[in-house]
């Protein structure tokens, strides 16, 4: 028995503003787990993130390793969390570590010099593409939506259109 992850979301800003509140309302979640090795070491961002949690729902910032550890731990099986990661690579690490999801929601991945924009909010680097390909091959749907009421968009399609991956 493991905990039921209600949503696994990729967003480089992790937990922020209305987005969290919106998803928390749309889904039956009782906890927000922000999974990032970098943020777990950054007191300032940790504070900002935990403060952005919607009222009544607690947010924790933990490392990828700890997420995998507590996912398997019986003591925590009653949690119904929303899991937030910064990039596709961390998402892949979680799935590799045993976390089961059918869909990964992608909010926004911010642009930097190693990345190219594939949709108006999502930028990917070559490593991201590899991770996304790996996830796609395991039958996981890659669903681009900022808030739950947006029209879903398939990231895989956009990647194909951009010629970043071959149709499969």
């Amino acid at each position: 028995m493991t905990m039921e992850v209600q949503l696994l979301r990729i967003d480089s800003r992790l937990l922020h503003g209305q987005v969290a509140t919106n998803w928390a309302k749309a889904l039956n979640i009782d906890r927000i787990l922000v999974v990032s090795d970098r943020v777990a070491q950054d007191v300032m961002r940790k504070v900002l993130i935990t403060q952005a949690a919607p009222p009544g729902i607690k947010a924790n910032v933990i490392t990828v390793e700890k997420m995998i550890r507590i996912y398997q731990d019986l003591r925590f099986f009653s949690l119904k969390p929303m899991v937030l990661v910064e990039d596709p690579i961390d998402a892949k690490r979680l799935v590799e570590g045993g976390i089961k999801v059918e869909t990964i929601n992608i909010g926004a991945v911010s642009f930097d010099n190693s990345r190219v924009m594939v949709t108006d909010t999502v930028a990917v680097s070559p490593e991201d593409v590899k991770a996304l390909k790996w996830l796609h091959e395991r039958g996981i749907r890659l669903d681009v939506r900022k808030v739950s009421s947006d029209n879903p968009k398939n990231l895989w399609k956009s990647l194909v259109e951009k010629g970043l991956v071959k149709k499969a």
Binding site: V43, M44, L48, P55, K58, K66, D73, R75, S110, D120
Partner: protein
């Protein structure tokens, strides 16, 4: 109309309800002269009894119902019924009340038909969030909801007016003017913590009683002087000083002296739960006269009576607080045992003259509960180890008392208690008594800059919830003479008789030590190059009551930040022991008399909190007081002890939380403290609220990191101004953390505008938000964006900004609880 009043403890719910009644009376809305009050918490442990009080009952409805009886609802017919703490009303009671609200009829207990009729206006009050604490069907039927703000949320002007009003009440009582200086006003306002106006009232009474005593010779007025205030109220000044903005607003409203004259138009005090049941001033006057007749000098008279006043007010004021703690204890221990323990406590106090502290109820009732359960379940008796016997040997007095407690328990339960339990009880008594009473070492942080010192002190005192830290900020232009005086005042402030550690930022200040020692008559040691990490470490070390100034000073001099200590200890005298310790798994020890019953309950409680905080690498280990030292050493071989809790404080340099604290919900903050202390990333503890420059830079950094098209260097200022605009035009106070998240959101909104990918929201929600108070203000702020950047945000984007404020508001409301 029926009304629900929401507000934290002491915010004036009863007062407000009273006023509503008065108003209704003058307008002749209520016909009968009747205002009935019922506190639902009074019978919360017995819902049946509560319901019978409220609705009445018929003969035979339950055992003891020997005749028909009307309830309070009938009594209040034609008037108003005030239901305080309404969240303690069981759901079925709430259902009956809302049926009554709809139809005006109800049934007494034991009746099936709702045939009784009463015309009652209901005022309900609660300290809880009605969304979660009350049935929604119940809340929906109450048309008017009034939210009373917490004291801290009121404006500086309002706070001051409240204080003046309370002082006038006292002036009326004593028929004298009250004169008080600016710093007394500040201290009084700052002394309000969780108790709101009610607490302010108690504090005003305390200082007025004291002032009355000190100015007994003066017929016309009493003077309140800062140096005469009791320490907990003096602390109010430093509390207030920690909040510079608030202090600034207040100072602008204050004159150096405030004079309050009796004013009967402002009314005599009304009866409420913060009102003393007797005339304190008469008692003081009588007593003073009596003592004078006995030939005592003025100083000792004052001393005597002050102790008395403190006792009166404390015992009175604590009442409410204590009830609450007993309630949470009631979730773990049977009511019967708590009552029995109270009986024992009274017996010890009155008959045996044996000193018992507040923690007695906790420790003893848990102990009794566990051994009663043990005996009842027929488990084998605990054996008496030779350790136990030899330990008890040192406490013959406690053994004797324990024997008497045994008799009380035996009489109550009518079965024999084995002798071994008497021994355990003796140990428990001894350990409850032996806690040292001397004060902690105080800490004063002094640094150059307008808020450097106070923000460091604030971070640490919040993090560790300690009260032995004071700060002194020194603007660069401040003269050394002024600084010395200022620091000296703070040294006095935190001195608890065990010396004060002064942490300063520059070497030149370290020469102050000897001057300060002389000036304040306090042992002062100075360490320079202060950092937040160092203050944190100092607070942690001084939190151990028996740590001496010398030891803390020596240890801190060797302290070089959390990040480096780990590497360094390997080469130091500990020969890698510390490094090894970090590889051991972590443990919290829970100490109780036997290490079985009580400690197991504590363990369950802590385990639950640990899981809730997702901590999977700390084990809770139970330890008995008997052979405690040996057991702890044994635990230390396998584990790294990170914290302790229980009936006694072990001699370890780890955070300790008392049982009372743990059961009152202190466990949560305790665990997060442990987490933070053990977290090595804390080498840069960070105050978000520290300075504007910093946050503006941070914002810029984050904007650059997360957005693609907008130019952070240029846009930061604009968005910062946007926040300030909202702050100026509304009552919202924004924390820096909220400001950052708002700016990040705005950055997103602008970028979405530029890329034409604005967010959407359905029409209904959009129209709902247009009535929100924030809506028009945000519209205006958007107008400002339009002027500077020529960007118009869509309605949907505006919706999300309003919603952001809404969420923040809700959150700060839940935090208030």
């Amino acid at each position: 109309m029926n009304t629900l009043i929401i507000g934290p403890t002491g915010s004036g719910k009863t007062y407000f309800a009273n006023k509503m009644y008065r108003f209704a009376l003058t307008k002749e809305i209520v016909v009968k002269k009747g205002f009935t009050t019922f506190n639902c918490a009074d019978y919360a442990h017995n819902p049946q009894l509560l319901m019978s009080h409220l609705f009445g009952y018929v003969k035979g409805a339950f055992t003891g119902a020997n005749e028909d009886k009307d309830g309070l609802i009938q009594e209040a017919d034609g008037g108003m019924l005030f239901l305080d703490e309404v969240h303690r009303l069981p759901p079925e009671g709430q259902e009956m009340i809302f049926y009554f609200m709809d139809h005006g009829t109800y049934s007494r207990l034991g009746e099936t038909a709702k045939t009784h009729h009463a015309d009652v206006r209901l005022i309900c009050a609660t300290t809880e969030d009605p969304e979660s604490a009350l049935l929604q069907t119940f809340v929906r039927r109450i048309p008017v909801t009034i939210q009373l703000p917490a004291f801290a949320q009121r404006s500086a002007r309002e706070k001051l007016q409240l204080l003046q009003r309370l002082l006038t009440l006292e002036a009326n009582r004593i028929h004298k003017n009250i004169r008080l200086s600016e710093d007394v006003v500040q201290a009084l306002l700052g002394s309000v913590t969780y108790g709101n106006v009610g607490q302010l009232k108690s504090n005003v009474q305390l200082v007025c009683a004291q002032g009355f005593l000190n100015s007994m010779q003066n017929k016309d007025e009493i003077k309140l002087r800062f140096d005469q205030l009791p320490p907990n109220i003096k602390d109010g000044l430093s509390h207030l000083a920690n909040n510079r903005q608030e202090l600034g607003k207040l100072t602008r409203l204050l004159e150096p002296m405030m004079l309050i004259k009796p004013n009967f138009k402002r009314g005599m005090p009304e009866i409420d739960s913060y009102e003393l049941p007797y005339n304190l001033y008469e008692i003081i006057g009588d007593k003073a006269a009596l003592l004078k007749d006995e030939g005592l000098d003025q100083a000792s008279i004052n001393n005597f009576i002050m102790t008395d006043i403190n006792l009166h007010l404390k015992s009175f004021y604590r009442q409410g607080k204590l009830d609450k703690t007993v309630n949470s204890l009631g979730e773990i221990v049977d009511r019967e045992i708590i009552d029995l323990t109270k009986e024992i406590q009274q017996f010890l106090r009155e008959k045996e003259n044996y000193p018992v502290r507040e923690s007695f109820i906790y420790a003893m009732s848990l102990h009794i509960s566990s051994f009663i359960k043990r005996i009842q379940s027929g488990k084998p008796l605990r054996n008496m180890s030779t350790d136990l016997v030899s330990m008890v040997h040192d406490y013959p007095g406690e053994l004797q008392i324990a024997g008497k407690i045994k008799k009380i328990v035996e009489e109550h339960y009518r079965f024999p208690i084995p002798q071994s339990e008497v021994y355990y009880m003796a140990i428990l008594l001894a350990s409850l008594r032996s806690e040292p009473k001397t004060g902690k070492v105080g800490i004063v942080v002094a640094a150059h800059g307008n808020s450097t010192a106070s923000s460091m002190a604030q971070v640490v005192s919040q993090l560790l919830s300690v009260d032995n830290i004071a700060a002194y900020d020194m603007p660069l232009e401040m003269s050394p003479k002024v600084a010395l005086d200022g620091i000296a005042a703070q040294v006095k402030n935190v001195n608890r008789g065990n010396g004060v550690l002064l942490l300063v930022d520059m070497g030149s200040l370290s020469t102050f030590s000897s001057k300060l020692s002389k000036k304040t008559n306090t042992h002062v040691k100075t360490i320079d190059m202060v950092t937040t990490a160092m203050v944190l470490e100092a607070a942690r070390k001084t939190a151990l009551i028996d740590s001496s100034l010398e030891i803390v000073y020596r240890e801190l001099r060797e302290f070089a930040g959390y990040s480096r200590t780990l590497g360094k200890t390997q080469t130091e005298n500990e020969h890698g022991a510390a490094a090894l310790a970090t590889q051991k798994s972590k443990a919290i020890i829970a100490i109780c008399s036997t290490g079985e019953g009580t400690a197991k309950k504590i363990k369950e409680l802590l385990d639950k909190i640990l899981i809730d905080n997702l901590i999977d690498d700390i084990t809770v280990i139970t330890v008995s007081v008997v052979g405690m030292k040996e057991k702890i050493t044994e635990v230390q071989r396998k584990f790294q002890i990170v914290a302790a809790t229980g009936v006694v404080k072990p001699e370890l340099t780890v955070p300790f939380v008392s049982l009372e604290n743990l059961l009152q919900g202190g466990g949560e903050s305790f665990v997060s403290l442990i987490e933070q202390i053990n977290d090595r990333s804390l080498n840069s503890p960070y105050s978000l609220e520290q300075s504007e420059l910093l946050t503006e830079k941070t914002v810029q950094k984050y904007l650059g990191q997360y957005f693609t098209f907008i130019n952070p260097v240029k846009i930061t200022k604009v968005l910062w101004d946007y926040c300030n605009f909202i702050q100026q035009h509304s009552v919202v106070t924004m924390s820096n953390a909220f400001k950052i998240s708002l700016i990040m959101h705005l950055g997103g909104a602008i970028e979405r505008h530029l890329t034409r990918s604005e967010m959407s929201v359905d029409e209904q929600r959009l129209s709902e938000i247009k009535t929100d108070k924030m809506y028009s203000i945000i519209k205006q702020a958007n107008e400002f964006l339009n002027r500077t950047l020529n960007i118009t945000l869509s309605d949907a984007e505006t919706y999300y900004i309003v919603a952001l404020f809404d969420t923040e508001k809700k959150k700060s409301n839940t935090l208030q609880k």
